[in-house]
Amino acid sequence: MEPALIIEWIIKSVIILLIGVIGTFYGTLFERKVLARIQVRIGPNRAGPAGIFQPVADGIKLIFKEELIPAQADKLMFILAPIITVLPALIIWAVIPWGSQIVIAGREIKLYLADVNIGVLYLTAVASIAVYGIVIAGWSSNNKYALLGGLRSSAQMVSYELALGLSLIGPIMLTGSMSLVDIVEAQSKVWYVIPQFVAFIIFIITGLAEINRSPFDMPEAEQELTAGYHAEYSGMKYALFMMAEYIKMIVISAIAATLFLGGYRLPFIDIPAFLEPLVFFIKILILLYSIVWVRATFPRFRYDRLMAFGWKILLPLSLANVFVTAIILVLKG
């Protein structure tokens, strides 16, 4: 392997990590601003112009907070849990393409870290690991609220992951490939949100459930579980959980944009390659906005209804979607 390739990969990885960190920072500000506007407020505007330094202030505050470990907690697991939560959220980015390729100094640089031929499988596999962090956090805290939050989280993820996985099969069947780059290239004519509208809706709903966002934020329901699985966490460990939550928000938006909204491509027009990350970013931003918008609109589901909705509606619906898509594909030849 040539050394330049390794340097290229390292640079790309650093960029991905930076996106994760900065995305978390400004994800919080974005969410607070949008929520405030929806609630006819102004939102954070004290730290810096229009509050742009608010995330920095929050970060500094969290760094200086006391790192509390409960006396009865399982210390190793307690410390490991936030790391296990944050890592999958970061490494998912490896397969998501944010552009095709650009030429810098006579060298073709592909704007993605890895074009794995089982990209979609990788997504679902890595996304499921995150639930371990949450369950371990809930268990090791030795706190009834945290434990209930962790248990709810695992039950919810198990229920919704099936429908999530099945909703991804639509785009895979239409493309005939599991590589995310192939899927994006196949959407140059028409975005998969049109032929796979049902799958798109199912993906958004189950995606919200997968990342524990409102209205599926059962594992951290403030009113019932105080904070759920991270009730005992403080300081930077808490910050890691928040980071994981926001990175997962961004990742879910990125996956939805890649699989259903044409990724870094615009329909019908060819754009220069260096603009492709920008297009991708705008699509992610719109999806992030909708996630916050949904949070501002809908109240939390009741737990039994959440389960009923997952098993009795979403799962059959996604199965039917796969079935119908397959039949149409076979009939078209």
Binding site: V34, A36, R37, I38, Q39, V40, R41, I42, W293, V294, A296, T297, F298, R305, A308, F309, K312, I313
Partner: protein, 174 residues
């Protein structure tokens, strides 16, 4: 099937539309330290001790406010006025006047009981103390500044002018 009982897609979209519309409304936030909302006319904020136009204090040290105070927050000690050192019209003035704002419940009974309208609850609500002693407002902190045409107390005055403690007052308008 029981789920969802009443929610349907139409209702969900209606809800989303309402929240989307509200994004474009003018924020109701008042930027507090910079912008202050005016208080209502009968707002009961921190007390002040008023003065007459000539600078004499209205308080005559009768301690009716202290008697009326349900929280025992007011302490008044009266002393004699002389024409050489006149603080208030009439015989006596409050040589000590203290309100413990940690005890005060801002009921306004002191204001109601005052025969000379000396103590009034004004619109200052920005009260914060860094010690318990800081919460005790003494006469110096409660007295309003001397008006433009007045002189500071104690004043040396001609004998026989300020013999009446309680002034002739019109009915209150507010």
């Amino acid at each position: 099937m029981a789920f969802p009982e009443r929610a349907n897609a139409h209702e969900l979209i209606k809800g989303l539309w309402i929240t989307f519309k509200s994004m474009f409304e003018k924020p109701v936030t008042i930027q507090y330290p910079e912008v202050k909302r005016p208080v209502k006319a009968r707002f009961r904020g921190r007390h002040v001790l008023n003065r007459y136009e000539n600078g004499l204090e209205k308080c005559i040290g009768c301690a009716l406010c202290a008697a009326a105070c349900p929280a025992n927050a007011i302490f008044v000690e009266a002393s004699e006025n002389t024409d050489d050192e006149r603080y208030a019209p009439g015989e006596r003035y409050a040589s000590t006047y203290e309100i413990n704002l940690l005890r005060c419940i801002y009921c306004g009974f002191c204001e109601d009981s005052c025969p000379t309208e000396a103590i009034t609850l004004e619109d200052n609500y920005e009260l914060s103390f860094d010690s318990r002693f800081g919460a005790i407002y003494t006469k110096e902190r409660l007295l309003v500044p001397v008006p433009e045409n007045g002189k500071p107390t104690p004043q040396a005055v001609q004998p026989g002018i300020f013999t009446r403690s309680v002034p002739v007052m019109a009915d209150p308008v507010d």
